[in-house]
Symmetry: C2
């Protein structure tokens, strides 16, 4: 059983304060993952590490930069958050290892990603827990653009034939127009009016983009809050199921 | 014109002292690279950063480990050296960006490398200077094994169809049995008796392995010392030419 789990950047960081880890939240997430039996691939977002740098340099998933200083700034911030996540996971016995997308993935001119993930598959087979993250990636004809954690989850889930996908978010699931968590989403049209933008600076799309991307997967996905992470890791389907 | 340049770990570090950069040597190397006109891919070895950790954990190119702590220790040391190299290069205006092999390359069960280097090619096309390094890589059936800078140079030169390859070493070239630098090497047999092991702890083969690997390339290669790096960058063929 292979599970791809996204830990939202807004869950792990204090999103309004630049490069600040929410240590208590990270510790809760790490404790939950320590109980996992599945083969686990972890992807985390940028939160206050990546988004501010990306916004400052005007870089998005489609707007690129050839400014090597900007590329190093965005990538460097994301690797610092990744190091904090790895340290927290290793500290509770999760065999976590860092995998930086800039070092292995690129976009072709049409924006498509090369899903070069054989190394991630081998890590899983060898008993490791690869921990990837939103990042900059080289983009043919555009310098480098953002690869969001959400986009990465979808690419990995497909390439690794994941059995299940979890998205641990700052909300307990996908809300309907009345602010209630929807139990199950089967099409984007059904929730298009209800899913808005995310709260803070987010170059990578918020809930609408998440839902749209998760619907494209073969594997069932769940969107849930940090309090439900232990239930998801235990095989449950908390929050909103998207398939 | 695409050039793949190896900067020996022993050139950039004080090899007998753990995790110590030779700042003066690194500065000289960076100054030389700042004058490059070619598309440049840089690969550096481990020196006192990688080799001690690899030896301590008994990890080599064929002997693997599934100890995630060992993998993080070796990889982490190499990324610290890589960060120092990137900082030095960026400081003199080279648009250097870090590329960590563990994040993109794996070995299959027979030890062969997946040459997933499309992202490196795109970086070159976009005007960046990717800086890779010796590393651990996931190895099917063996956990993780060492990928030496020398092996990486050969893989990259082939995959990127490099026009020339440079290996900046602690010696001014390949020595013959009398200690003189050989001008040109055309076969391994011709130098087999003269090329011995390297001086200090080196899990990755020394000069014999370098010569053997460089002979397998389509592109001409030069092995030279740090003093000849400016001449090589300028298009010259200092030291020993291997083809």
């Amino acid at each position: 059983m292979t599970t791809v789990l996204k830990l939202g950047g807004s869950v792990l960081t204090e999103k309004e304060r630049a490069e600040t880890v929410d240590e208590a939240a990270l510790e809760r997430a790490a404790d939950a993952l320590a109980a996992a039996d599945d083969r686990l691939v972890v992807v985390h977002g940028g939160g206050s590490f990546g988004h501010h740098h990306a916004a400052a340099h005007g870089v998005s998933e489609s707007a690129g930069t050839r400014d090597d200083g900007a590329i190093r700034a965005i990538h460097g911030a994301m690797t610092r958050l990744n190091a904090a996540v790895i340290e927290a996971l290793a500290g509770v016995g999760v065999p976590a290892v860092p995998v930086h997308p800039f070092s292995g993935i690129r976009r072709s001119a049409d924006g498509a990603l090369d899903p070069t993930t054989a190394h991630v598959g081998t890590m899983l087979e060898e008993g490791l827990v690869p921990v990837l993250h939103g990042d900059v990636v080289a983009h043919e004809g555009a310098g480098a653009t953002i690869l969001s954690g959400d986009e990465l989850v979808v690419v990995l889930a497909g390439a690794l034939s994941a059995d299940r996908v979890g998205v641990c978010s700052t909300t307990p699931g996908v809300y309907d127009a009345d602010g209630n968590v929807i139990d199950r989403v089967g099409s984007f049209e059904a929730v298009a009016e209800a899913v808005g933008d995310s709260d803070a600076t987010d170059v990578t799309g918020g809930m609408a983009g998440k839902v749209r991307a998760l619907l494209s997967l073969d594997a069932p996905a769940s969107v849930f809050g940090l309090g439900d992470l232990p239930a998801f890791v235990d095989g449950g389907e908390p929050g909103t199921r998207i398939e």
